[in-house]
């Protein structure tokens, strides 16, 4: 098992055993699997030159031995897809996907695998740090905090002058809250790199988990068409929140690029002040006409292409015009929907199929006005133990719902967010 710290400044000897240079750095090609070492940067006197792996017979803690007595002294030039281990990886931050954390590389493990030397892991533990500090070069037993390179995401931002193709597929498999955690530990360049590499839906979920400023920053840095795609994937209230943090021209640009259905919802929400119930609500909810039976309602829900995020409550509405009872639908701004009651999914599923929704529903419902202070609305939600609170106009037209997570967000005092009990 070789460690990079042992190899840096190790002697390079030719086939006859004569020392000709010192190891300055190792070059590896990054891509799929364990990065193979493609060469060394060697230093002799004041000159630095490149030695390809082809010319290397063996690499060991005592030093590097070359396979020939002659050397083609080529100046070292960076190539696409290649990184320098000491310069671009050591002491840099990487993502440990398995551990869902950002760590700093304290040392690197190199081992011969299938005939070539490869980078197989990173030591991120404190012991490796101390060992490098005191310059111990002897064989170290792997007692450190080792991360398999297969679990590592390397950040291309660490080698800005090189074109690297680094996909972040493994990262996409984490829960968005975990990805957001990781992004918050990185600089914003690196954060942008990660969000850009995710698919639209994961990117949207991850952005929702970040704090306002970061969201806006990352979105602003992206290509506008991509940003609009991601906004389309977000719940309208979250999209409205981010957009409200962007300058007006950018807002307009992105709204224009979004799908019309989505941008309409978002525009409506943007009209409300952030500190009101209207500013907290989302227009993503299920409205059900009272004339449907439980069975019919469920069938149509099943058949819907895209359900809103929140389906636990269904809002029973009536149109004031004499329009025929429609299928359950998402918000349609043109026809005002008067809120008559609420049905829970539980009730719907457990009811006898022929039962009318209008009979199942709860008529006495807690609501908020769009202009009500946000804190009050949030408190209502918590007090009544609701999962969502409908926001209705004075005439009784439902405008949106406030979901519990947004209420919590609002009510948690800053200090709680920062952890009240430290020793726990």
């Amino acid at each position: 098992m070789l460690y990079l710290s042992q190899l840096i400044n190790a002697p390079i000897r030719d086939r006859d055993g004569e020392r000709i240079a010192t190891v300055r750095d190792l070059i590896a090609r990054i891509g799929e699997g364990y990065p193979p070492v493609t060469g060394l940067v060697a230093r002799q006197g004041r000159r630095e030159f490149f030695i390809p792996t082809g010319a290397i017979a063996s690499i060991a803690t005592e030093g590097v031995t070359l396979s020939s007595a002659q050397l083609n002294i080529a100046r070292f030039e960076r190539r696409d897809g290649e990184i320098l281990l000491s310069r671009d990886v050591l002491d840099r931050q990487i993502i440990d996907v398995n551990g869902k954390r950002v760590v700093r590389v304290n040392d690197l493990q190199i081992a011969p695998v299938e005939g070539s030397y490869r980078l197989i892991g990173a030591d991120v533990g404190a012991r490796a740090l101390l060992a490098r500090f005191f310059g111990r070069k002897r064989e170290r037993t792997p007692l450190g905090d080792l991360v398999d390179w297969a679990d590592i995401e390397y950040l291309a931002a660490n080698a800005p002058n090189v074109r690297l193709k680094v996909s972040h597929e493994r990262l996409a498999k984490l829960h968005p809250a975990e990805i957001a955690n990781i992004i918050e530990d990185l600089s914003y360049h690196e954060g942008s790199e990660i969000v850009s590499a995710l698919d639209d839906e994961t990117a949207a979920d991850t952005l929702e988990e970040l704090d306002d400023e970061r969201q806006a920053d990352i979105l602003e840095q992206m290509d506008s068409a991509r940003a609009a795609d991601i906004l389309d994937e977000m719940a309208p209230d979250d999209a409205a929140d981010i957009l409200s943090d962007l300058p007006q021209e950018k807002q307009d640009e992105l709204l224009a690029l979004m799908e019309p259905e989505e941008s309409e919802d978002v525009r409506e929400l943007l009209e409300y002040n952030e500190d009101t119930a209207g500013g907290m609500m989302t227009t993503d909810y299920v409205a059900v006409p009272s004339g449907l039976t439980a069975d019919e309602a469920l069938a149509i829900l099943r058949g819907m292409e895209e359900l809103p995020d929140f389906v636990y409550y269904l809002y029973v509405v009536e149109h004031d015009t004499s329009a025929p009872p429609d299928a359950p639908h998402r918000t349609d701004d043109d026809i005002p929907e008067y809120l008559r009651g609420v049905v829970t999914m539980r009730q719907l599923v457990l009811a006898s199929p022929a039962m009318l929704v209008g009979e199942l529903m709860e008529r006495e419902i807690v609501t908020a006005l769009p202009t009500d202070p946000a804190d009050d609305a949030a408190r209502q939600l918590v007090e009544y133990g609701l999962y969502a609170l409908p926001v209705v106009s004075e005439e009784g037209v439902i405008r949106g719902i406030i979901t519990a997570d947004d209420a919590f967000d609002r009510l948690l005092p800053d200090s709680w967010r920062k952890r009240l009990r430290v020793f726990s």
Binding site: L90, D91, N106, E208, D275, F310, D405, D409, V422
Partner: protein
């Protein structure tokens, strides 16, 4: 309570937090999110604040982090150092103040620029460019300098309350407990309120300075015409004056601030304006502290042995209340410094050694971070509590230590900021490099001068 839209795609995890991540916001950074960024986003912040006093604070903060750094620079150590400079040498050190203003503006701008361009803190940049050994060296310098400054702030608490007759053996432990509660309970709101009180003290110095009817001619002449005395006291005061204005911790702080607020390249110009404005304000106030003290103490040949002596500089304004006013102001400044400085140390060290950091983590998640904070405070406090330790002495000498160790940090900064691989096209221009190198060289030269001068003076029985 939001079910995922496509439950089949994402692997369910039993440990998935029920409350989404948004419900637990980060509250990183020394001053936290209480202080809004100095960009257009602030306009949106103002309507949200209903409470009138906080609206005023937001307005104040619109002036930017420059104001905060300005207040932080005139901490307990600063007030003391400027007072001693004025009392011992009259207007003689004012020219240093003028030159230091340029150096401070430039070094702070560099810190802001590095933070904005790279998005990383200074400790991280040092680690990434120079590796672990040099990082250890830089951290050692910072730790020593910060130890001094933390001790100074704690000493300031003690000195201020001594004016009211409270012994340091009571005031320091009580303050310490309050500071621990602060961090572990995590309520930083009062920190912002303290800023406002400090502002009152600084204004008092300005008014007092004017009312003392100083010799303005002499004051201005000394501001532009350099003079130098080859005496040990003078050299110490020289180094201390620079060291209290440009501090090692200040260098880490401004960069961390810009990173934390996630300022971007578009914000660079606004941030520059902030920084320069803050620098001007800081030294403007410092000027008046020196002048006020010179006009009251120096002219009567009085020196400063304890805080009540220094308080006399406020007599022209406050008369018999000078001591009281000074005590309140010094106490405020010292408490603020004691709260922020050990945090700054903990942040830098944790960042350098790659451990978890931040007040949003629990102790178990970030043991190194909290341990450094605790150790920094306790060791400094114990030092201050040692019998026979002169509080004013600690306040003054610690700033000299800052000045001696500052070149180390500045050299790191210079090497990083001129590295194209790190800064892209935002590397230093000639003027900034020149000014900073001159500052470094001057500090090193004068620091080294201290040795022969001290020896010669000892020999001469001086």
């Amino acid at each position: 309570m939001r079910p995922t839209s496509n439950p089949t795609d994402r692997p369910t995890d039993d440990t998935t937090p029920l409350i989404s991540r948004r419900a637990t916001r980060l509250y990183r950074g020394v001053l936290g999110k209480a202080v809004p960024t100095a960009t257009g986003r602030v306009r949106r912040l103002l309507p949200h604040i209903a409470v009138p006093q906080l609206r005023f604070l937001a307005f104040l903060a619109v002036l930017g982090p420059g104001i905060i750094t300005a207040s932080a620079d005139n901490d307990a150590g600063g007030i003391t150092t400027y007072s001693i400079a004025g009392a011992q040498f009259g207007y003689g050190l004012l020219w240093i103040l003028l030159l230091t203003t340029f150096s401070l503006g430039i070094t702070q701008e560099m810190g802001a620029r590095m933070g904005i361009v790279t998005g990383k803190g200074l400790a991280a940049l040092i680690r990434e460019k120079f590796g672990i050994r040099w990082t250890g060296f830089a951290m050692l310098a910072l730790l020593i300098a910060n130890f001094g400054s933390t001790a100074a702030d704690i000493a300031g608490i003690g000195a201020a309350l001594e004016i009211f007759g409270v012994s340091k053996y009571i005031s320091v432990p009580v303050a310490l407990m309050a500071l621990f509660l602060l961090v572990f309970k995590g309520n930083f709101r009062w920190v912002e309120r303290i800023f406002l009180f400090s502002a009152a003290l600084y204004i008092a110095y300005i008014v007092s300075g004017i009312q003392a009817h100083p010799d303005w001619g002499a004051a201005f002449k000394n501001t532009v015409v350099p003079s130098f005395q080859l005496r040990r006291d003078y050299i110490i005061a020289f180094i201390a004056t620079i060291g209290t204005t440009i501090t090692p911790w200040g260098q880490f702080f401004i960069q961390a601030y810009c990173v934390d607020k996630q300022l971007r390249k578009e914000d660079l110009n606004l941030e520059r304006g902030d920084v320069y404005f803050g620098t001007f304000v800081t030294n403007f106030i410092a000027f008046f502290i020196v002048v006020a003290t010179a006009a009251t103490l120096y002219v009567h040949g009085q020196s400063i042995n304890d805080a009540s002596d220094a308080a006399q500089a406020l007599a022209p304004l406050a008369g018999g209340f000078a001591a009281f006013l000074f005590a309140i102001g010094l106490f405020n400044a010292a408490l603020l410094g004691s709260a922020t400085l050990p945090l700054s140390t903990a942040y830098a060290a944790s960042e350098a050694f790659g451990t978890e950091l931040g007040l949003d983590r629990r102790f178990k998640q970030a043991p190194f971070f909290y341990s450094i904070y605790t150790a920094a405070l306790i060791i400094a406090a114990l030092f201050v509590l040692l019998p026979g330790i002169p509080l004013i002495g600690v306040l003054f000498i610690s700033q000299m230590v800052n000045g001696i160790l500052l070149p180390i940090i500045l050299v790191f900064v210079l090497l990083i900021i001129n590295d194209k691989a790190v800064m892209g096209r935002y590397t230093n221009g000639f003027v900034f490099n020149a000014v900073t190198w001159i500052t470094v060289v001057a500090l090193i030269f004068v620091s080294l001068l201290l040795i022969p001068v001290t020896i010669i003076q000892q020999i001469n029985g001086g």
